[in-house]
Every structure is written in structure tokens, then in C-alpha cells.
Subunit: 202 residues, 4 copies
DNA sequence: CAATAAACGAGACGGTACGTCGAGTCTTCCT
DNA sequence: AGGAAGACTCGACGTACCGTCTCGTTTATTG
């Protein structure tokens, strides 16, 4: 729950956070192998050669550890905010890149965290603050640039439009259980997002 | 202990479906009270005055029972397919009605089932067949009527457009943790769905 | 903690206590192999093919289970109360017989229970009532017979004399760590118990 | 943090033994408060304001520390070897004095050490050498004086007789859980020890 | 008097066992 | 025959304690 500083505050030569990274990596691996429900703290401890006591010293619960693990995983990092010059290009770059939703691993990790969401409200808040917020902000930046370029209708409701693409894609992946390919992303963009964004409505 | 069947059908003492409904009702109540993770089979058995053996005789797992319970619950029944004469009216009727996503209970039950989805792939298939398919079909009927009325662009990608509204709303409810009110539904409709549906894009 | 009746009360055909005996036997075996401290509940569960939940359903703690196990073990049953016609003969029969203190296993089990004694006062009471009392009573019977035969001084303080022999032998075994052989028992008898019992003191 | 050493020995700043005494005293206190099983090394470290590393630098285990603590405690020091002029007087002085077995604290500490005895055979040897041997030797001295005075039968088996009194008293205290008062000591003496010692048996 | 090395307090760590809880199975009795 | 009751196995949970270890600081001796 409370990661220590990786930074070198004053005269602290030791890189404390390294151990933590190892543990979280073990957790991510097991998560991808077995899914959230089948992941056990004992298994994480075993693979990371840590003791359960250590895990619980830092994370208050399995759910908490999992969120942290997913959060820190390279496989679920924020998609790159590449400025391609168009809204369509930016969104494709963000959602189809190596950390985007078309990657199977990213989706699996996200699924794990969504399951964990429902175990604890306090935990859900933390997740939204630490995991979701950066993604949402990056998303808003993409739309802000599009707005500046004049691609968006001036009265566009960004609070609604911003989460639309991830919402539709997650629904397809988690609820419908269908794959999220670049083709699907493009169809969603061309069918829904871009028409809505350009706001050509009589 | 006490004969509970009304035994209406001629001389058949076994009223199979009725007992099942009682059990599922108990499950729904507990689901709304505690959520999926905190729901125990023992609690369901206790409240329904059934034995766990009976539960497992009819449902292969907790997840299975929960899906069934949610499926049969009045609170999560398919939204009424009211023909209001317009796509906007039909969708508002479907998603803001007494069984729509603006009802808190409906959302809670849906959340439970989503959690259950991740425990078993075989189970997820069943869920999609029995629970999701009817909803999707009804949704498609609404869009089909709109198409007949000429409200939709002729080349409209219904496979993508159909799930868009529930996807966006679920994302808002489950991932962002924000309420789904009629106002929100209307904003999604006016900002995204209808512009995309009418397909005014050159 | 609460053994069920092995007896056939009314119409209960099943011999419920049989399973319990298996578990306790496993515990006794492990006790003799590893001693009290190294004995784990998991090991008992494993060997008895029982679950820890079952163990804790019947016994409130490891200490409690161990006492029960020792109590029921044939290896620590009450020594036979053989009437040999003399106090010396009776005591040798009792303390050097197959269940007497000269048997290594009996002593090991006793040691285990003595350790367990110190974990819980409530538990210690139970132990004294169920485990110790029968042994003490048998011991008193031996002295009572000797009294009838006129072997004991009439004013003999049986409350003190009775526990003297086991006390001296336990001290030798547990505190001094020296073996308790038949020779030792006889020396204690001839040096201490019998002189005191016959009470020839001027 | 605060210099605690009195540094009396010439120029040796490190006053080893004094710190040790503080730690052992803390251990004794906690032992009397909670008993051996409930005593934790962390608690000792905390109360003595020492670190666990320090404890383990000097004592190889909890058992080892406890024996040392009991050994050094004033409350369990060897009973004074007062020459009262009679065996009866000497034994009463030794066992009923301020460090005798009639003191509740002495008995509690002894109980702790007996429990510790069963954790490690190597440790038990050490205990017998350092803790028990002096007591036994003192006991033997008492009997030796009695022998010189002609109070004992010349063929008296001192190896058996010597440990008899403590054995009987410990059994009463630890196994039977009954108090050891001066009255009890005198009854044991008059009923058992003295008749045996004076050896009036034809 | 400053530099060095030993011993220390603090407390995280790996490991092991604890006692609890829930899922899913199985047995018994009752209707 | 089938259901209620509930004990059972399995396995994960989160906690506690032991004994080890590393860290940075204090202390005493040395240069």
C-alpha cells in the first residue's frame, strides 16, 4: 500500500524500491498465467522469494497488491501520447500501440483489476486515483489538441466523449468476450467517435 | 418442514420452478446487500432454508447460481422494448425505465455478474448466451426499427453501434464509479450515439 | 474438545468416534516422532487425511488435541491395577508394566502433555480432571488395599504418600533427564516409599 | 542513546554484565506476567530497549535466554545452605526460605524453564549443567552433613533420596497444580523423607 | 583530536505455523 | 425419492513469532 521512495533522498544510497518491483513483477506474471481469482498470495511470495508477512506489510490485501502490480507493470503503462497531427491518428496510436488495449496482456491485467475493484470501495477509490486518472488525463489531452486543431465541434461534451472509446472497447473485451483488434478500434472510431466528435448534426 | 408448494397442477406436489425462484430471490437479496465476493453459498442456503446440496444439485457453482439469480431477477429483466416512434425515445425508454441502467439495483446486480464472469470461461459463455444475448437482440430490434424509419445511415455498422450505449454507461458506472442518471443517458445519446447513428459524416 | 458418544444412543447406527480415534492416533504417532513443539496441526491433518477445519471443529487448540490424543492412546493408558498381594508388588506392577513409566513412549507422551499444560489454565484443569484423576484414584486404591492388609502405618498421610512415587519418577525423567528403569523404581520403593509407608519411625 | 556504563574496571568502557542483567530482568518480569509460551523475544527487546539482534548475539535461542534469565533471577537463586544442626531444619530452611519452592514466583519461573526443556535436547543439557547441578550439589551437602551427624542410615541411597523432596514438591505444583506451603513441605518431610532417611526398616 | 572498528537500537525480512473461512462434496436422517 | 441439515476435504486467507540480516549510529580505542 505504501511504496517507499525509489529516489535518493539526501544520503540514502540504497535503492529500496527494487525489491518491490520484483514482487510486483512476480504478481503480474502469475496474474497473466492464472487470472485474479486463481492468484494466491502464497504463490506470489514463493515466486518472489518473499514471505507473506512482507507482502502484507506493504499491501493491505491481495486486491491492493494486484492494483499496484498492474499499475507498475510495463504491460499496462499509459499508452504513449503521440502527436500524430489528427485525432484519429492519436487515438489509434494510443489504443493500438504496444501498451494499448489491443494487446492481450494489457487486457488481461485490466480484467484482473476490474475484478479486484468490487471487493472494497476504499480500494476502488485508490485505484481510480492512481491508475485511472493518468489515463483519463492523457485521453483528455488528445481531445484538447484536436479541439485546438479545430477537429472538434466547439460545444463538444468532452466529459462524455472522452471515456467513450475505452468504454466501448472494454465492453467488447470483458462483457462480450470478443477480441479488440486494430480493425475494431478503427470501426469504432469511424462509426462512432469521429462522427460524434466532429459533431455534424443537423 | 412446512409444505410450501401451492401444488396447483393437478396432483403434482413438486412445484419445481417456484422453489427455485425462492432460492434465486434470496441470492439476489444477498447480492444487493453484500456484493458478489461477500456472498456465500451458506448464506443463500440459510436464507432460502435450502441445503447447500440442493443448490449444487441445480447450479454447478456459485458463479452459475449468481448469473441465474440476476437473470431471473425482476430488477434486471430486459428493458421494455417500447416503440416510441424514434430511436432517441426507444433508447431512453429502454435504458431509463424501471429495469434500465439508471436503477441502482440493476447496476449492482450487473456488477456482480461481471465479477463472476472472470472466474470461469465456460461459465462466461453460458452467461453470454442466456443473459446477454436477449438484451443485445432487443437492442438490435430498436436499431432495426430506426433503420426502417430511415433514422440511420444505410451503411451503419450495427455490430459496433449497438453495444456502444451500454458500453459507455457501464464504463461510467463500474470503472469510473459515477452515477448513471437519465441526464447522463441523454448526453451520451445526443453527444455520441445519435450523431454516429445518423451518420452525418462526409 | 467435545467428543461424540461412541455408544449407540437409541438409533444412531454409525460409529462416529472411529474417525476421531484415527485422528488422535495420527497425533500420537507424530508426537512420538517429533515431540510436542515440532508437532503441527497441518501434519496431523495431512496424516489423518482430515482438514484443519475439522480438527478445530472438535478441539479448540493444538494443546487440547494433544491432551485428548495422549489420553486416548493405549500407550498412556492407566497402568493395570493388579492385586499382587503386597504394596511393593502392586506398585512395581503398576509402574513397570507395559503402560508404566518405564516405557519410553509413555514418558514421551507424558512429557508432551506437561508442556501443553502451561499454555492455558482452563485447559490444565480439564487435563487434571480427565487424565490425571483416574491415575491418582487407581494409585489410591493400591494404597487402600495395603492399608487393609496392615502394611501401612495407620496414621499414614496418603494425600502426600500417594503422589510421591510418580513425582520422584517424573522428576528423574523430565528434570534430570535420566532413565526410569525397573531397577530405579525398586530403589525408590525400597529407599523411600516403603520405609515411609510402613512408618517405622521412633 | 544515554551512556549507561559505569565503566569501573580500570579502562574498560564496556560494562558487559550490567546490560545483560537488565535484559534478563526484563525477561523474568515478562515470564512472570505471561508465562513461557506467551513470552516473545520482541517483547523482551522492547522492554529492555535492546534490539533482537543483541539478544541473539548473546543467547542462541529463546529457550537459552529464558534459562539464563531464570538462573540469574534473585527469585530463583539457590536456596541458602543454612546449617541448622538437623536434616529437618536444613531442608525446611532450603525449601521454605525466600528462594525456596514455597515462593510463588520461584515456582512460576521453574515452570517456565521446564517448558523450555522440551524444545531442545542440547539446551536441556546446558540447563542441567548450569541450573540444576548447583541445586543438586547443595542438596547433597545437606544430606552429607546429616550423614556426618549420624542422622542417616549408613547404607542410604543418596542418589535416590536427594532428589526425592524437590521431585515430590514439583509434582504437586506443576502436575497437580496444588500449592506448596511450608505445611506441605513439613508433611512430606515427616511422612516420607525423614522416615526414609533414618532408614528404620528391618 | 580525528579516524576507525566494534557493538548497538531499530526493525524489515524469510520462513513456518497458526487458527479461520468459504467452495464444493458427501452422508445421514426425515418426510 | 428427494430434500434439509450440516460435517467433511481442500486450500487460501491474514496474523504472529522466531531467528537472520542490514542499516545507520553511537562509543572507545587507536593513529
Amino acid at each position: 500500500m505504501t511504496p517507499r521512495a525509489t529516489a535518493t533522498e539526501s544520503a540514502r544510497p540504497r535503492v529500496e524500491g527494487e525489491r518491490e518491483a520484483e514482487i510486483l513483477e512476480a504478481a503480474v506474471d502469475l496474474l497473466l498465467e492464472h487470472g485474479y481469482d486463481r492468484l494466491t498470495m502464497d504463490a506470489v511470495a514463493l515466486r518472489a522469494k518473499a514471505s507473506k508477512a512482507t507482502l502484507y506489510r506493504r499491501w493491505s490485501s491481495k486486491a491492493s497488491l494486484v492494483v499496484d502490480a498492474v499499475h507498475r507493470s510495463k504491460k499496462s503503462a499509459d499508452p504513449q501520447d503521440v502527436d500524430t497531427g489528427s485525432l484519429r491518428g492519436d487515438l489509434i496510436a494510443a489504443f493500438c500501440g504496444p501498451t494499448g488495449m489491443t494487446e492481450r496482456d494489457s487486457t488481461l491485467l485490466l480484467a484482473a483489476v476490474i475484478t479486484a475493484l468490487h471487493t472494497d470501495e476504499e480500494f476502488a477509490c485508490m485505484f481510480r486515483e492512481r491508475f485511472l486518472k493518468p489515463k483519463i488525463e492523457m485521453n483528455q489531452r488528445i481531445y484538447a489538441r484536436a479541439m485546438e486543431r479545430g477537429e472538434l465541434a466547439s460545444d463538444c461534451d468532452l466529459e462524455i466523449l472522452g471515456p467513450a472509446l475505452p468504454g466501448i472497447l472494454m465492453h467488447r473485451a470483458f462483457i462480450l468476450g470478443q477480441p479488440v483488434t486494430q480493425d475494431v478500434v478503427e470501426r469504432v472510431l469511424d462509426t462512432i467517435i469521429l462522427p460524434a466528435a466532429t459533431g455534424v448534426r443537423k
